[in-house]
Symmetry: C2
Subunit: 181 residues, 2 copies
């Protein structure tokens, strides 16, 4: 899909058709995410595709963080991709100066953004979920202590079928300056 | 440009033609970035377009963090976009549970990624720079204490003209699991 159309098409999708997403499509999303840049090309990320009914059930239970959930519609989601942060190996001179994880959360945001554009390109809706019960999510997917789960992306074919919504955002004038704050 | 072509075309560009980027094009990059998602739609970001020679000179001096620089070619860059993190206003129930900045760095990564795809779509090269002398950068652009500069994106027309390089990345098998770590 053309970039400008993709930019309009990409939105947070919370209503999915009851239709599985082929494993090959989910794999392709991660393959495209791997093309994203990262600080010192450290790639401090691991992706987990979750499409098995039992694994999805465990993940959905972890979407509730003691009563708080950004994804109450979790049990209707055809597939998830969970992104965890790994220890980053930066270039030696950068590692001397900065903490190893200085860029890692931005890197993960970049890869996640790529997944959502790639999903839109393949006709899929997506939504980024940052709230979850970390301990339950770790147990659900066997995420080890040395990794930190950061984002869950929900994926599936759009069940609404409406044209993309207008996005509610601050205006350009509010959010951007030229040459000085 | 079609998404798959854009994905190949987007790469870190460090050699630029000596050709200014029109202000309207730079503004459009930020307008597209503003379409990016963020936790609770908080949009915890401010963009600064830097294309004035004097402002660029001050910014370029801040690229050197006491002898460390990820951008020694800074004085050949036609324009920059600096992204700073703002205090995020999360939804009340989310704000009760999590720190206000929990999602902010990922949000900034998402917006930065969008800028780089948008740039590639408009025939521009880009490179994300995360290393800089924070105090000098703040002084150069008047970034106030309540904001945190996170990323500098360099922008210009590609001065190399070669086809996109093959990206060096971990393999899919190394970076991705299915249903369990």
């Amino acid at each position: 899909m053309d970039w400008k159309d993709l930019l309009k098409r990409r939105e947070s999708c919370r209503v999915y058709r009851d239709q599985p997403v082929p494993r090959t499509v989910l794999d392709e999303l991660v393959k495209e995410a791997l093309q994203s840049p990262s600080g010192c090309n450290a790639q401090p990320w691991r992706f987990l595709i979750v499409d098995d009914p039992q694994a999805k059930k465990r993940l959905v239970e972890a979407l509730d963080d003691d009563g708080l959930t950004g994804c109450p519609w979790g049990d209707t989601v055809p597939a998830f991709i969970v992104i965890s942060e790994l220890k980053a190996t930066l270039k030696p001179k950068v590692a001397e100066r900065y903490d190893s994880q200085k860029f890692a959360q931005m890197d993960i945001g970049m890869a996640a953004m790529t997944i959502c554009y790639a999903a839109a390109d393949m006709g899929l809706g997506s939504c980024m979920i940052g709230t979850f019960h970390e301990k339950k999510l770790r147990e659900a997917l066997g995420i080890p202590d040395e990794a930190k789960p950061r984002l869950i992306i929900t994926l599936g074919y759009d069940g609404v079928g409406h044209p993309p919504r207008a996005k509610i955002r601050r205006t350009f004038a509010e959010a951007c300056g030229h040459n000085h704050w």
